[in-house]
Symmetry: C2
Subunit: 223 residues, 2 copies
DNA sequence: CTGTTCATCTCGTAA
DNA sequence: TTACGAGGTGAACAG
C-alpha cells in the first residue's frame, strides 16, 4: 500500500462529473491498484476513488505531477499533485478477512422457530415457501387453519410491502391456500410502508430481536 | 490525520458482531476522531470503522497496545496492536468539499423547466407533488388538460416502475386529478423495466442530459 | 454471466 | 431531530 499526502486537485468523470478544489489530502493506492482520496474528516467513505481493475499512469515532474486513472467503463480520475508532503509504501500481505454475526438471516431463523410469537396458535408450514415469483419468508397457518404469509425484514420499507403483495397475489391463486392473508414483520417499520401495508390489508408486526433471542435461549435451557 | 501501520486484531460489537484475525493493516484516524481499518486490497470500504463522534482510549504498552473506541450508541471497536510498523501524523486543514454535477436532482430541475420537451403543450403543475406514500417527481397536465405523473431516474430500473405505479394508484383516487397517466423518464431504461412499464400502460421516455442542458442554455441566451 | 437483495449501508435534504 | 430517497451505491449470493 502506497500512502501519499499531497496538496492536490481532483477531477472525476464517469457515472457523473465531480471536482475537488485544491487542498491537502491523503491518496491511498492499494496493492490491487484501487485508488482512494481521503480528506481529514467525514466518514470512512473517500471523496473520490477508482476501484480495481484500472490503469494508473503518472506523468509530469517536480511540483506538477499528474496521475490519471482510467478503467474500461470509460471512467477517468485525474489527480493534479501540486505539492507532495509525504510518500511511503508498506508491505502488508493478504488479509484473512472479516467474520460477521447477527445479520438478517438470523432474524428469519429466530422467527421461524417461534411462530407462536406472531399470534397464539400459529403453526409454521415452511420457511422459504416457493411461488412462481420467488420464495415467501414464512408460510404459516393460524389457529383457525387459515394460511398466513409472513415477510421478514430488518428495516421495513415500502419495497417489502410490494414484495409481500406480489406473493399474496400468487398464493391466492392456489385454491388449497386461499384465502391467504399477509403479515409484514420487521424490527422497525417506516410510516409510509405502514400506510401502504394497511391500505392493502396487510398486518404490521414489530419484531424484538433481543426478545426473540431471549425466548430461544430460554427454550434451550428447558432441555 | 494519524496513519498507523500495524499487525493487529480487531473486534467490533454494536449493530452486529465482527472479528478480524491478526494481520498487518492500515489504521486511519481522522481529525474528527473517526477511525477506519484498511486492508491492502478490496474496495475503498474499510474492514472495520467507527464514525465520529466517539471516545478513543489507548492503553497498554510496548508490543501490546490496545485501542478502544466507543460511542453513545453502545458500539465498541477494540483494536489490539501486536506490532507497530509505522506511526505518522499529518496536518491537512479543512477540505473545501466535493462538487458534483449530473445527479438526479439536476435532471429533475432541467426537465421541470422544460416540460414541453416531454410532449407539446405539457404544463407543470408542481415538482415533488405530495401523496400519502411520498412525493411524485413531477405532476403535469398535457395539452388536453389531463393529469400526468412523471417519475425521473438517472438509471431506470424496475423498482422505479413500481414506485410510479403506486403513485398512480393513489393519485387516481383523487377525483380532481383522475384519470392520471404515467411517464417514466430516465437517461437509460433497463429492458425489464421497459417491459413492466409498458405492461402497466406507462410511457417510457429517454432523457438526454446534454440536450436538456443545451436547451436550457439556449433559452438563457434569448434573454 | 445477470439479477436481486442486504448493508455497522453513507449521505444529503426537507419537513 | 427524524424520515426519506439517491448513490459513481458496494458486496454477496442465487439462478
Amino acid at each position: 500500500m502506497r500512502l501519499v499526502i499531497a496538496k492536490c486537485t481532483v477531477d472525476y468523470s464517469g457515472r457523473l462529473d465531480a471536482h475537488l478544489p485544491q487542498a491537502v489530502r491523503l491518496l491511498m493506492i492499494k496493492a490491487d491498484g484501487c485508488v482512494a482520496i481521503h480528506a481529514d474528516g467525514g466518514a470512512y467513505k473517500p471523496l473520490n476513488w477508482m476501484n480495481a481493475p484500472n490503469l494508473f499512469r503518472e506523468s509530469g515532474e517536480g511540483s506538477e505531477l499528474t496521475w490519471i486513472v482510467t478503467n474500461d467503463k470509460s471512467e477517468k480520475l485525474t489527480i493534479q499533485l501540486h505539492e507532495v508532503l509525504s510518500d511511503s509504501s508498506h508491505e502488508m500481505g493478504s488479509d484473512p478477512g472479516l467474520e460477521k454475526d447477527g445479520v438478517e438471516a438470523h432474524l428469519q431463523e429466530l422467527l421461524a422457530a417461534n411462530v407462536e410469537q406472531i399470534s397464539a396458535g400459529m403453526v409454521l408450514v415452511r420457511r422459504e415457501y416457493p411461488t412462481n415469483i420467488g420464495p415467501v419468508d414464512l408460510l404459516c397457518r393460524d389457529q383457525n387453519g387459515q394460511a398466513v404469509a409472513v415477510e421478514i425484514k430488518r428495516r421495513g420499507e415500502i419495497d417489502g410491502v410490494e414484495q409481500l403483495s406480489r406473493y399474496l397475489e400468487f398464493l391466492n391463486r392456489d385454491s388449497n391456500l386461499k384465502p391467504v392473508t399477509g403479515i409484514y414483520a420487521a424490527q422497525e417499520i417506516k410510516p409510509q410502508a405502514r400506510v401502504l401495508a394497511e391500505d392493502r390489508g396487510i398486518e404490521c408486526l414489530i419484531l424484538d430481536y433481543d426478545e426473540l433471542r431471549g425466548i430461544e435461549s430460554n427454550e434451550l435451557k428447558l432441555f
